[in-house]
Symmetry: C3
Subunit: 131 residues, 3 copies
């Protein structure tokens, strides 16, 4: 799993939101090589008063910001992370009309035993077989 949380200004309609979520997932599949069915995403729309985003920080002109938070297992190197940022910006522009300036991404890493995909077990770090 990566777990993805997308927060967008409420100027985006539901169709655009769905396209953004699809673009972010496709970029993870292409650049981070996650399985295509490893898709877990939470999407939220907020007005500007509840989603405050500086319009100029680092000399990037933001108008309708979209923030993508990704939690994933540690182990991807910087080259792969940069490739994901680039591909997400490309696909969000192509698929949902998001200006590249408006797509912000933050990653958080954890470990294999920090995930349970159901059934009360840690699928990425199963219990060692007893002797």
């Amino acid at each position: 799993m990566p777990l993805v949380r997308i927060t967008a200004r409420d100027s985006y309609g539901d169709t655009a939101l769905a396209a953004i979520a699809g673009a972010v997932h496709a970029a993870l599949v292409e650049a981070v090589h996650i399985p295509a069915d490893d898709r877990f995403q939470i999407v939220q729309k907020l007005p500007a008063s509840m989603f405050i985003s500086d319009p100029h920080f680092l000399e990037i002109e933001r108008r309708e910001p979209v923030l993508v938070e990704v939690t994933l297992r540690a182990g991807r190197d910087d080259t792969m992370k940069r490739a994901f940022y680039q591909r997400a910006a490309e696909l969000a522009r192509e698929g949902a009309g998001v200006r590249p300036e408006d797509l912000m991404i933050v990653l958080r890493e954890n470990t294999s035993c920090d995930w349970s995909f159901g059934n009360g077990t840690a699928q990425y770090a199963p219990e060692p077989a007893s002797v």
Copy 2:
């Protein structure tokens, strides 16, 4: 503190949500040995369009998914994490009728000085006494 964020499909009613939150907390108390009054939880209901969850990933059949995100201090070993996953699945099924396949959990770890429980101080990493 662990900080717990629970995201559930909106097919769950308020009573079920409250029972899920209680089950997750009880599992943390039983398996991770947190104090019973160390309870801080955010609960959210979302429609399927805003909470996308693959229905088959890792061959687990999800129908009405519930995602539990837990932030806690580093230091719990894998055995304890696995015990928490198992107990949470048991208690969520018993107390709220959640199918074990539907309960997903992700952990994120930080350190003692990353918590303030109020009053502007770091209760788990207090300032060293001056000499």
Copy 3:
């Protein structure tokens, strides 16, 4: 960037919420020395049933809790974190009338390459120049 997520009980009005967000940002600028225009905040109001917060844990009497989650790059020492907690409690009380007992803070750290502020690049960890 730090990324800030503020969750408050719905007893706070919109004016108070805006003041809390401003106070948290000012405390980050003063105590953690982030740039004044490095402001990215998500704010959410929830009823007590959806934002469960123990009213007595660690013998701190909470009435109208506010939870501040901050994701930031690793590197700040404990002294700086404690200064942030203290200043946030002071400014939230002065600016928004928040009782210091009610302001809880949790930090999560990541690394420089975990941030993209737009344009599909990692502004804090740019690609090395080719030879």
